[in-house]
């Protein structure tokens, strides 16, 4: 187990370097000269420009810049935003907790609603409940997340008046429920369908028949024997879904005015605030890599046949 984790952590290093390098190259090939942009329409001072370029490493080749950046990141220094003049780590410390809360709400919705619907459909395969769940989830998958955001905004805020249309205070978790539901809706539809298929398939397995024949109560058969084996595809999906949630956060946070990383990231891209963009994406990549490791470790917990030496 320990060796497996160590090997996986080592394998992450090239992927981490590759992904951050890719983002770095893409961001730094963006048009526009951030140094010149500081002066706006006024004539620029060439000496000051050269000094700034040197200070921020803009005058060196992009690979040298990348190496400089990466060696700083290892010590926890994500640099300073050239546009806002703020330390990137401070900006992230401010906005990340908001998005993490939003993602946790979405995650909770996904797991609770998705799994309940999946159970309902999987155990009643071919009956009315099953068909209803399939139709509802198909509709949810088809409606793009921003359209769904507007629909929910209209229904729950404008018509019913349960919540305010946009989030007033991003630290208040009760205000994040509606955006969280919107963010998680696509994924819970997938989870419902995945768990339905998986449950329905495993329901026919020999060990389920054995468990029933032994006279185990239905709750135990479903809750322990069936669920544990059916959760593997769902766990895989949940792991890769973290990245999608962060990407979806750009849209959801925009619609509901949540001050999280999605909003910050979108603004930074538009302002060519390279340091902030690269910093946020770097953290996102780390989150993604760690969550995929966690998924692989969870496999062993769920399926006793899988053991990592």
């Amino acid at each position: 187990m320990g060796r497996y984790v160590a090997r996986r952590l080592l394998q992450m290093i090239p992927v981490f370097i590759g992904t951050t390098l890719l983002i770095f190259l893409m961001v730094y090939s963006l048009p526009g000269d951030p140094v010149r942009a500081l002066w706006g329409d006024r004539p620029a001072d060439p000496q000051a420009m050269a000094r700034l370029r040197h200070e921020y490493w803009f005058d060196r080749p992009v690979l040298a810049q990348y190496w400089h950046y990466l060696s700083n990141v290892v010590t926890g220094d994500f640099g300073t935003s050239f546009v806002t003049g703020r330390k990137v780590i401070d900006v992230m410390a401010e906005t990340f907790p908001v998005t993490v809360r939003l993602a946790l709400v979405a995650f909770a919705v996904e797991v609770v609603v998705g799994l309940s619907l999946g159970l309902l459909a999987g155990l009643n395969r071919g009956k009315t409940w099953d068909k209803l769940v399939l139709v509802i989830t198909l509709l949810l998958i088809s409606i793009p997340i921003f359209v769904l955001g507007f629909i929910f905004q209209t229904i729950f805020a404008d018509q019913l008046g349960w919540v305010t249309p946009t989030v007033q205070n991003s630290d208040d978790i009760s205000q994040l429920i509606l955006p969280g539901v919107v963010l998680g809706s696509l994924s819970f539809a997938y989870i419902a369908r995945l768990s339905r298929t998986s449950l329905a398939e495993n329901l026919r397995a020999d060990y389920i028949r054995t468990a029933i024949a032994k006279g185990l109560p239905r709750r135990r058969v479903v809750g322990v024997h069936l669920m544990r084996n059916s959760l593997i595809p769902v766990v895989t999906f949940l792991g890769t879904d973290l990245g999608a949630l962060m990407g979806g956060a750009i849209v959801t946070e925009g619609i509901f005015n949540v001050h999280g990383i999605g909003n910050t990231l979108y603004r930074s891209i538009n302002q060519s605030d390279n340091a902030t963009v690269v910093g946020i994406v770097t953290i996102l990549v780390i989150v993604y890599l760690l969550s995929s490791l966690l998924v692989d470790l969870l496999y062993a917990a769920l399926d006793p046949r899988i053991r990592y030496a």
Binding site: G18, V27, I143, P144, G243, L265, Y288
Partner: protein, 313 residues
């Protein structure tokens, strides 16, 4: 790998005369004809296929359904005109938008952008991902490790996020820059599916037989492995097509996808968003068409999966 090939050709040299296998009197149905038989009977497939054919016709010839110019704007007469639901196929059927343009005409003409992006991105990712997956799965070893790590690198970047960064690098954006941005970030999923599929098929007896008969690498890959490994790729690609259409609309909605001059559902949803409280119909019709299109492709993918992979039923 060359080792096995040499062994295989040596084996073939020892037995130069291959006895022709007698052709069976009744040819068993192939996976594809079997799948086609299943598909024709599946109502989900029939509904989605009809919808998709209709959308393709609209995308190719929007002029068949309306003679109204989608860019013709008359602010004075039509500012946010409400829909006249009884005026079937007429200019004011779905009402007018903020610039006094016929929403019915715009919804029809907007199909083209979405369909082109969806189909082209899917072709792009299927070819690129399929090729990478095939090479990685077939050759294995360090080559597989290299390609798989490259796939991991691209897989680590969320689609929407990466596409925003890529699109920002273009000052002049067209439909093709959107295709490129979604394509270079979207191929990883198909590469993984293809690799897994090739790894399974590679072990099959008929592949070993082809090797023993001295077939070249190219022939084994494209004549023996590809037709047997492609089914899961087609399933994933069909379902993904709907997702790419939604992604294009999302990017256009964020103001970073198609240029504002292009008639597209994403752009119209973006402009309709500003009047959602006073005139929800401006937002509703392009959103409904977009959702319907995504729905049609996802249903098609579901039906194709059921037909090609009977295990999942």
């Amino acid at each position: 790998m060359p080792e096995t090939l040499n062994k295989a050709s040596a084996g073939a040299a020892e037995t130069p005369a291959v006895t022709p296998v007698p052709v069976a009197a009744e040819k068993p149905r192939s996976l594809w004809s079997d799948a086609w038989r299943d598909l024709r009977r599946n109502p989900v497939f029939v509904i989605s296929a009809v919808l998709i054919v209709f959308l393709l016709v609209v995308a190719a010839f929007p002029g068949l359904f309306t003679s109204v110019d989608p860019d013709h704007a008359d602010l004075g007469k039509h500012y946010l005109g409400v829909p006249s639901y009884s005026h079937f196929f007429q200019e004011d059927w779905f009402g007018y938008d903020v610039q006094g343009r016929s929403i019915f005409a715009r919804v029809l003409f907007g199909a083209r952008a979405s369909i082109i992006v969806g189909v082209c991105v899917t072709l792009f990712v299927t070819l690129l991902g399929g090729l990478v997956g095939m090479l990685a799965g077939y050759f294995g070893g360090w080559f597989d490790s290299l390609l798989s790590r490259i796939t991991d690198v691209f897989f680590g970047i969320p689609l929407l996020l990466g596409a925003i960064v890529v699109l920002n690098a273009f000052t002049h954006r067209t439909i093709w820059t959107v295709v490129l941005a979604l394509g270079i970030l979207g191929w990883t999923q198909l590469a993984r599916v293809m690799r897994g599929s090739v790894l399974t098929v590679k072990q099959a007896d008929y592949v070993q037989a082809a090797k023993a008969l001295g077939a070249g690498t190219g022939r084994i890959m494209f004549r023996h492995i590809l037709p047997n490994a492609i089914a899961p790729v087609i399933v994933v690609a069909t379902i993904a097509l709907g997702g790419y259409i939604a992604a294009e609309a999302t990017l256009s909605f964020l103001g970073i996808g198609l240029p504002p001059s292009t008639v597209s559902w994403g752009n119209d949803i973006s402009s309709g968003q500003t009047v959602i409280r006073t005139a929800p119909h401006v937002l509703f019709f392009p959103s409904a068409m977009l959702s319907l299109t995504v729905l049609a492709f996802i249903m098609l993918g579901d039906a194709v999966r059921d037909a090609l992979d009977p295990k999942l039923r």
